[in-house]
């Protein structure tokens, strides 16, 4: 049932779903409750120095995207997300590779994060997001990255040399997704809001506007 047919037939159900999917990103405070929670503070989630960022680094709204390279909804939402970031011009976008759906997803995340060391994270990221489907193997992912023009030898060398760094970042991402209560992919933090499902262009746009309105009120 599409959202439009639901709107006409079951508005209350749709309303509840929207409410369910958007909740405030308020539980994650600025102070860690315990020392080991330092990785999951609001600040650590928004400003992890190792996490790749895009958009406007000085933007007034930050979108944090948690995604998996075998997640169909992430792939479907990706072009709309990029479009909103570009069109708006004042959005800071943080990528959180969160490989939870398959073993290949983990491999894909490692490769893409290794490409970051040659300044090509976004190229590799787009290459994997552009493969349609839900059952992409690690080999297919590697092929797609190769086809995007990444220096594969350098990527492999970086992957070997920086394995610990990459794993540590993935672990932090996992812990952060847990801390904010994400159940599956994709999950977004848009300003103060937590969105627990994929959005389309208008959805992102509206959420960003709502986030700005809320920030102005505070």
């Amino acid at each position: 049932m599409t959202a439009v047919t639901m709107l006409t037939s079951q508005p209350a159900v749709l309303l509840r779903r929207i409410l369910i999917s958007i909740a405030l990103f308020a539980a994650v405070g600025s102070q860690p409750a315990r020392a080991e929670d330092a990785d999951t503070t609001r600040d650590a989630i928004l400003n992890d120095p190792a996490a790749p960022i895009a958009g406007n680094p000085e933007g007034d709204v930050t979108i944090v995207a948690f995604f998996d390279y075998n997640c169909p909804f992430c792939k479907k939402a990706e072009p709309d997300l990029e479009r909103v970031v570009k069109a708006d011009g004042k959005i800071r976008l943080v990528y959180k590779d969160w490989p939870i759906l398959s073993e290949a997803s983990i491999r894909g995340a490692q490769l893409v994060l290794a490409a970051k060391y040659q300044g090509k994270y976004d190229v590799a990221h787009q290459a994997l997001m552009n493969i349609p489907g839900t059952k992409i193997s690690a080999e297919q992912m590697r092929e797609a990255i190769k086809a995007s023009g990444i220096d594969m030898d350098r990527m492999d060398a970086d992957l070997a040399a920086r394995a610990d760094e990459i794993t540590a970042l993935l672990r932090r991402n996992l812990a952060q997704a847990d801390a904010i209560g994400l159940q599956g992919t994709p999950g977004y933090l848009i300003g103060q809001y937590k969105v627990t499902s994929a959005l389309n262009y208008n959805g992102f746009k509206r959420a960003v506007a709502d986030a700005r309105a809320l920030a102005a009120k505070r």
Binding site: M1, L7, T8, P11, L14, L15, R17, I18, L19, I20, S21, I22, A23, L24, F25, A26, A27, V28, D68, C71, P72, F73, K75, K76, A77, P99, I100, L101, S102, E103, S105, I106, Q110, P132, G133, T134, K135, A163, T167, L170, R171, L174, I180, G181, Q183, G184, T185, P186, G187, Q192, Y193, K194, T196, S197, A198, L199, R206, D210, L214, K217
Partner: protein
């Protein structure tokens, strides 16, 4: 434009959220674990049948359903064709909505131990869940969570799957007090026996055990002038031993059939049979001069003309029967032992625990039988009177037992008849004679006459269609009326289908659900209704809870399926459920008697979850 209105409403509600401290959890989708609920069962051919209930709007992938052995070998699993979902971003995939059943052939299953079920799915609104890993114990058909998903474990030193093996302590049915008793069951055998003996001793002071006292008293009274402390001891020992054996038999039955025999015996046939036994006993107790039965019958029933030979066997028979049928009270130790036997398959340990429980329950009876026997008069007209009194008690027992299966009006008719009988026995009719008034003496005739009048009122008042019963407030208050008793709206269900329908209604309210397993024959349930659900604070708190009552009065496949779905041994058992997911909220279950304060705590944790 409904869309704009909707947007405004959402914004308004979000603004509300910003005014109150809201945890990020509050608006979360239901835990991923609850959108796909997996129920395993044995197929008729001995294979494994896996049933998933899929929440509306969610779907499972056909090709992501996998079954593995403990050692990681893949087990063949048959899945039905799914719905084809063809979307440019998704590629063509086969998915299931609402419900799916997968089967593993008996030949492919390991003989014992556990299998791991892996499955994965998404929600249409745009979210995909990580794979689920569930362990199924093939003996007990219980589902436990597999290894906590750590997707990165393969990157680092390959850590083998070290999830705890689903010992009975981890089973999903974790009732109040049950985990502790379950741990005892797997501990040292002597400690276990001592503990269950102790539990029994404590349980003997609960109301569901009280009917045992008049029954044993009746048995002792039948011995008449031959009753001595020694004989009292022997008779009550026979009664208690048989009772303990009956409890052990419950364990054996649970191991064989997975059923609670006590509940299975709450049928018109079994209750009718034991009622007949009580009536026959009662007749033999005053039958010798009032109600003549063929001498042969009386001889059999009372164990010889003097009533003292063979009555040890009779005591044992009654002990066995009353433990099974008279007092079907599920309590945490009983539930723990029965679940332990059914799930761990350790019959000897479970049955001996139950035997110890029965012995413990019998100790006060033994003391009562031995010392009480010394106190009863040895001869004289008293002896005859006492026999008659217990004859009446036995008749009352018979009516009480039948009342579990007879319609309400018939129960009142029977009580009416009893009262009339009592009135006649006490000589109520002599009140009408001139002689009575001339003698001016106050005897049992007066209460007899009262009993006669009350009995007649009951007899005529409870004839169906007659409104006299309602005119008598005292009698009306005896009538069982769930809502009147508790002031709480209750929806009664008797099968999985009606339960699911009630849950669907409850889901719309967004409140947690209290699933209350109850039955007409459950004495303890009535007490809970009165003292817990009738409690003022509880009633207030229950406004935020939907009460669904699973009525187990009729024990059949439907009620059994309901009990099995929630791993319930018998009423009274109360479980709080998350209405959205239809799953039990951990730490909220109560088994057996419960007090209002404990229950208020359970409501609080159900609402807080």
């Amino acid at each position: 434009m409904p869309r704009i209105h909707l947007h405004r409403v959402v914004l308004f509600l979000l603004a509300l959220f910003t005014c109150v401290p809201v945890s990020a959890q509050s608006g979360n989708p239901p835990p991923a674990d609850q959108v796909f609920s997996l129920t395993p069962s044995r197929s008729t051919e001995g294979g494994l049948q896996l049933d998933w209930r899929i929440a509306p709007g969610d779907y499972l992938y056909r090709d992501k359903i996998a079954v593995k052995t403990d050692t990681g070998e893949t087990v063949a699993v048959t899945t039905p064709p799914g719905q084809i979902k063809d979307d440019p971003t998704f590629g063509a995939t086969e998915i299931y909505h609402d419900h799916v059943q997968a089967d593993v052939a008996a030949a492919d299953l390991p003989a014992t131990g556990q299998v791991v079920i892996i499955y994965q799915g998404c929600a249409e609104r745009g979210i995909c869940y990580p794979p689920f890993r569930k362990r199924i114990d093939l003996a007990a058909m219980t589902v436990t969570n597999g290894a906590a998903a750590d997707p990165l474990q393969d990157i680092e030193a390959a850590v083998p799957d070290q999830s705890p093996v689903g010992s009975p302590a981890n089973v999903s049915a974790s009732g109040d007090g049950i985990p502790a008793t379950t741990r005892l069951l797997s501990g040292h055998v002597l400690a276990m026996l001592a503990a269950f003996f102790g539990f029994g001793l404590l349980l003997s002071f609960t109301p569901c055990f009280f009917p045992m006292i008049p029954i044993l008293s009746g048995i002792l009274a039948r011995s008449g002038e031959h009753l001595s402390a020694k004989r009292g001891f022997v008779l009550s020992a026979a009664y208690v031993l048989a009772m303990a054996l009956a409890y052990a038999a419950l364990g054996v039955a649970a191991a064989w059939s997975g059923q609670n025999l006590q509940i299975a015996l709450q049928t018109p046939l079994a209750l009718g049979a034991i009622s007949l036994v009580f009536v026959a006993l009662a007749l033999s107790m005053f039958g010798l001069y009032d109600l003549q039965l063929p001498a042969r019958w009386i001889g059999r029933l009372s164990g010889g003309a003097a009533g003292n030979r063979g009555s040890i066997g009779g005591a044992a028979l009654l002990g066995f029967g009353s433990a099974l049928i008279v007092g079907p009270c599920v309590t945490p130790p009983l539930a723990a032992a029965l679940l332990y036997v059914a799930q761990a398959g350790d019959l000897a340990r479970g049955a001996s625990a139950l035997f110890a429980l029965g012995l413990g329950m019998g100790v006060p009876l033994l003391a009562f039988g031995t010392f009480g026997a010394g106190l009863l008069p040895k001869s004289g007209p008293w002896l005859v009177r006492i026999k008659h009194v217990f004859g009446l008690v036995f008749i009352a027992m018979a009516v009480w037992m039948l009342s579990r299966v007879t319609p309400e009006w018939l129960t009142f008719e029977l009580w009416g008849a009893c009262l009339i009988g009592l009135g006649l026995y006490l000589g109520a009719t002599s009140v009408l004679s001139k002689k009575f008034w001339c003698n001016c003496r106050v005897g049992p005739e007066i209460p007899g006459a009262i009993a006669l009048v009350c009995g007649a009122l009951l007899l005529f008042g409870s004839i169906p269609g007659n409104d006299l019963l309602h005119a008598l407030p005292i009698l009306d208050s005896c009538k069982t009326n769930d809502e009147a008793a508790t002031g709480i709206d209750v929806q009664t269900v008797t099968s999985l289908a009606t339960f699911d329908a009630a849950m669907a209604t409850a889901r719309a309210t967004g409140k947690p659900v209290l699933l209350d397993f109850s039955a007409n024959w459950c004495v303890e349930c009535k007490i809970i209704d009165r003292s817990v659900l009738g409690n003022k604070t509880v009633r207030e708190r229950m406004r935020d809870v939907v009460l669904i009552r699973a009525d187990m009065t009729d024990y059949n496949d439907d009620s059994r399926a309901l009990m099995q779905r929630f791993n319930v041994v018998g009423p009274p058992t109360m479980i709080f459920l998350d209405a959205q997911a239809g799953q039990e909220i951990p730490e909220t279950r109560t088994v057996g008697p419960v007090d209002a304060d404990t229950f208020i705590g359970k409501i609080a944790s159900a609402r807080g979850s």
